[in-house]
């Protein structure tokens, strides 16, 4: 598949939009899915995913062909999603450190035996719950978790996509996993 993509990218660099259409077809589902899990809203996800492809097209000349196209398009898409999340950022995040405490976050403020959803959740409801918990993650953990467990990418790829050192990616995934565990442990 990568060779076909490389060939198409050469055509796109010459301005061929049909070749770009083929690339969009190949990646649209994955990019849209990442955007949806990041943003939690179909309309916003579609807007962000479309914009990601449009930016990719406009900047195709700066695409480094040694990189996988998927890495590049995911980088554009996650950056766009993070920008969107920041624009509508609430006043605080659960994992923000509570002032005056050392390493204590809002998660620890939530009573661990908060009323639980019924044990037997419909699959639909379960999906919804998981999605909501992913959306509660701060964007930097959310992007790492989505790429790792929704897209099932390797830590190295995630570090390339997010343009972060491997160690930072690991830390973010650990924190994200920990936060999700606390929220989902009784599901």
């Amino acid at each position: 598949m990568e060779t076909i993509v490389k060939k198409r990218i050469k055509q796109v660099k010459k301005g061929d939009q049909n070749a770009f259409g083929e690339i969009v077809e190949l990646y649209k589902d994955r990019v849209y899915h990442v955007c949806f899990r990041m943003l939690g809203n179909k309309q916003e996800a579609e807007d962000a995913a479309q914009e990601a492809f449009i930016r990719a097209y406009m900047n195709i000349s700066s695409f480094n062909e040694d990189l996988k196209f998927s890495t590049w398009i995911f980088r554009i898409a996650t950056n766009l999603c993070i920008d969107r999340i920041r624009k509508k950022k609430p006043d605080y995040y659960l994992d923000a450190e509570v002032s005056g405490t050392d390493g204590l976050t809002m998660y620890s403020q939530i009573a661990s035996d908060a009323p639980l959803p019924e044990k037997e959740l419909e699959s639909q409801e379960l999906q919804e719950t998981i999605q909501q918990e992913i959306l509660k993650l701060p964007e930097k953990y959310r992007s790492a978790i989505v790429l790792k467990y929704i897209e099932e990418l390797s830590l190295n790829e995630i570090s390339e996509i997010l343009d972060l050192p491997l160690g930072t990616v690991k830390t973010r995934i650990h924190r994200g996993r920990e936060a999700l565990r606390k929220q989902l442990r009784h599901v």
């Binding site: 479309q50 406009m58 920990e178």
Partner: protein
């Protein structure tokens, strides 16, 4: 009992798939002896399974079309090139057509000399062809790059290419009169003539048979 933080680190290393054998050994030993950490470890694994199990969703219909519609207009050159690649027969035809037009145009350019169809009773003075008064010219008269003055009668069509025609009041033409001055008129005339010639060839073949 407060467990060392190291334990949770090891759990994550394990989940990332990069724990070394020694640490894994220690982790296993601890998990067997500590219910609390075992529960955390179980919850972490369950969390991952839950998140991984979230259903895949597809991009909405017409996604690609919508993206392409929002791109800036493609350069003409590119679309023309792609069109040629996708329609080789039409491409060959258009090349043929261009060559044909080219050769016709070069014929036009070479064709600046005065000439006139040969018929009895036609009088030529400088670049003017005269059908004299009271005389009858039989057949089609064609004048190129010159004037035609008709004072007598032409029994046939008259064509003046790149020139002028003067029909005196006493003059008479039984067929059609045509003046061709522009390149495209001329092209059209030339193509009609070629078509007629082709038809004539076929018809004369038929009559011969």
């Amino acid at each position: 009992m407060k467990c060392p933080e190291q334990i949770v680190e090891w759990m994550h290393d394990y989940l990332d798939g990069d724990i070394d054998r020694e640490d894994q050994q220690k982790l296993n030993e601890h998990l067997q002896s500590c219910k609390e950490c075992e529960a955390i470890f179980y919850q972490l694994k369950k969390t991952i399974t839950l998140v991984q199990g979230i259903s895949q969703i597809k991009a909405p219909p017409n996604f690609t079309e919508n993206v392409l519609a929002r791109l800036p207009k493609e350069k003409k050159k590119v679309s023309a090139k792609r069109w040629l690649q996708h329609h080789p027969v039409l491409a060959a035809a258009s090349v043929f057509f261009i060559l044909m037009i080219g050769s016709l145009l070069s014929t036009w350019n070479q064709d600046h000399e005065f000439s006139v169809s040969k018929q009895n009773n036609l009088v030529v003075k400088n670049n003017t062809v005269i059908v004299p008064k009271g005389k009858v010219v039989k057949g089609d008269v064609i004048v190129r790059n010159g004037k035609l003055k008709i004072e007598g009668e032409v029994q046939g069509d008259v064509t003046v290419i790149n020139g002028e025609k003067y029909l005196a009041s006493a003059g008479h033409v039984t067929g059609e009169i045509e003046e061709v001055n522009e390149v495209f008129d001329w092209l059209w005339f030339y193509m009609k003539k070629t078509a007629k010639d082709v038809v004539n060839i076929f018809e004369s073949n038929k009559t011969e048979k």
